[in-house]
């Protein structure tokens, strides 16, 4: 897709007058491809710096599914830190075993790490849980996202530990984060609402960081498109069962009519988190009595799943 314009009279970049490729309604401006790339790289760098997500000496594992968000994340981190000797990047891909879906994104992930020259580890559900997600989910398809979320988290940690990681970076974008805020409100789950998975864990678990947390999904897609690295990959077939799908559609419509809604939800989360600091559980404080992993109850979510159906 060309960075060059279309025609006179078309919306122009607010910074240079070149034809615009995106209308940033929350910021009240248009940007051309070149300035969109610069803008996203600057905002991601600021998020990383202000939240101290990555510091000298870190080994950062990047959860790389091969989809758009993780592809953008690895590209950005490689661009920002690729030449740094004091920071190591390792991509981790989880193969859940989702037939007809995961094969294409894994190929995309493999192509990307090869092109960038980034270390790559692949962890499969077969290795960690003894079976594919497709098999594990039989008869439980409506719970797919909850179950897969728990299993994926564990598989990523296995990969991160193999790499010797000090941080685990995921490609969650602003839309994902704002949806999570709203879903936790709808569920009345205050603990999850205020949880900060990037907090210093005192070495109990690998902190998770989300450098794209203030970048909209459409900005990410356009960022990839203008660099010629956009791939029209399929969506996970299980996503149709998720509450998130309904929340996503609703929130996206509200954001379009009322730009800045998603950012305001994130701000609200911060305010609530500050107000409740110490009054509700943040990150897990206990230890699972069966596997020893950090958790907030007696049994971690994975062990609860194991009891219900895993071998």
């Amino acid at each position: 897709m060309s960075l060059k314009p279309a025609r006179s009279g078309d919306p122009a970049c607010s910074l240079c007058g070149e034809p615009a490729v995106i209308h940033q309604r929350h910021a009240g401006r248009h940007l051309c491809g070149t300035h969109l790339i610069a803008d996203i790289e600057q905002r991601v760098s600021e998020t990383i710096a202000s939240r101290q997500q990555i510091v000298p000496g870190d080994c950062v594992t990047v959860a790389l599914s091969g989809g758009k968000d993780s592809t953008a994340l690895l590209l950005l981190l490689h661009r920002i830190f690729g030449s740094r000797k004091d920071i190591r990047l390792v991509a981790v891909t989880v193969d859940e075993g989702i037939s007809g879906y995961r094969e294409a994104t894994i190929r995309s992930a493999e192509d990307l790490v090869k092109r960038l020259g980034v270390e790559h580890i692949t962890v499969s559900f077969w290795e960690v849980f003894g079976d594919s997600l497709d098999t594990l989910l039989k008869g439980r398809e409506t719970q797919a996202c909850s179950i897969c979320g728990i299993l994926r988290k564990k598989a990523l940690v296995v990969g991160a530990e193999q790499a010797g990681a000090t941080k685990l970076a995921t490609g969650h974008n602003l839309d994902d984060e704002a949806q999570s805020v709203l879903m936790n409100v709808l569920r009345g789950d205050l603990t999850r609402l205020v949880r900060d998975s990037g907090a210093d864990s005192g070495g109990r678990f690998i902190p998770r960081i989300k450098p794209l947390m203030y970048i909209q999904e459409k900005e990410i897609a356009t960022y990839l498109m203008v660099q010629g690295v956009w791939s029209d990959l399929p969506e996970c077939p299980y996503a149709i069962h998720a509450l998130r799908r309904e929340v996503r559609s609703m929130l996206s419509a509200i954001e379009y009519q009322h730009p800045g809604t998603m950012l305001r939800l994130m701000e609200n989360k911060k305010v609530v988190g500050t107000a409740f600091l110490g009054k509700t559980a943040g990150e897990p404080v206990g230890t699972c009595r069966e596997c020893g992993d950090p958790c907030s109850g007696e049994l971690c979510q994975l062990c609860q799943l194991r009891h219900s159906f895993l071998r």
Binding site: M1, S2, K4, P5, A6, G9, D10, P11, P19, A20, V21, I22, H23, H30, G33, S65, G66, G67, K68, D69, S70, T71, T105, G171, Q216, E217, K218, A221, T222, M225, V226, D232, L233, P234, E235, C236, A239, R248, S249, S252, A253, E255, Y256
Partner: protein, 64 residues
Amino acid sequence: MKLILPDRSIRAIDPGPATVEAILEKEGINPLEVMVSRDGKLVTEDTVVSGDDELRVIRISHGG
């Protein structure tokens, strides 16, 4: 005008000069959930299109 939708179906439409936003709205598509190209070049939703333009609507797949 030729309109190519995310499911690759092709429609001939004649909205006169109209914004991309108006065309998407008529199709029930939220502009935040798609990218749109005109004759192979990305355009914003407030771009006015007309005549023989070829519009392609690219769905932004979620996740990943």
